[in-house]
Amino acid sequence: MSVTITDSDISPGDLATAFYADNPHGAVTTFAGFVRDFNTQGEVETLHLECYVEMAERVLSDLGAEARQRFGLKSWQIVHRFGSLSSTTPIVFVATSADHRAEAFSACEFVMDTLKTDAPFWKREDFEGEQQWVTVAARDVDRRRRWDTKDPVS
């Protein structure tokens, strides 16, 4: 069980390999998110990710603990970047392990859907000399809300 907030590069492959070795339970799910090289207006050159680090550590630790309790996880890990990132750079890595795949898949999705709207990070896209703060997507709000009322595992 761990949270890492860092302004250094992360390697999802290395993180996954280490998590598999440390947590050889029945089912392990991993997710990695990368900077897209486009937005609705064209090519994104750089993504700047601002972070309230102390709060992010607290929110993500609470989120991992909630996922563990809700889905009966054996273990979990959340790693999140901040700072300036070029396109195709890894932003986030989440791993969950459980006795069975349904719990591992659902917990990983729950963590990602919640993290998108509840963890104190703010994305700013730089493109063609302009800077623009990313606004919350309606689909992200919808995906977050469904966990308030629905438990896909049950």
């Binding site: 102390e54 998108k116 994305k123 606004t135 919350v136």
Partner: protein, 84 residues
């Protein structure tokens, strides 16, 4: 009473301030009171702290603006979060 106040993203840009340490008398007892106090700094502050989607946190937890603030607290103001 002393508190730290932090601003992030477009709220930080609007008030041109990352962080403040404030010392004041105890008549400011809630986040709403703190917003009114900060609004005395000028129109940019009033506008930023009236942002329709403004989120406030006390000691790293999201709260309603009626939340009490106490000596030593960390308060933060920011727009909706876009992690992941």
């Amino acid at each position: 009473m002393a508190i730290r106040v932090k601003f992030f993203s477009l709220i930080r840009e609007a008030v041109e301030t990352e962080e403040l340490t404030l010392n004041f008398d105890a008549e400011i007892s809630t986040v709403a009171g703190l917003k009114s106090f900060l609004g005395e700094r000028g129109e940019a502050w009033v506008e930023a702290l009236s942002h329709p989607n403004l989120i406030q946190a006390v000691n790293q937890r999201v709260v309603f603006q009626e939340e009490a603030i106490n000596d030593g607290d960390d308060v933060a103001f920011f727009p909706p979060m876009t992690g992941g």
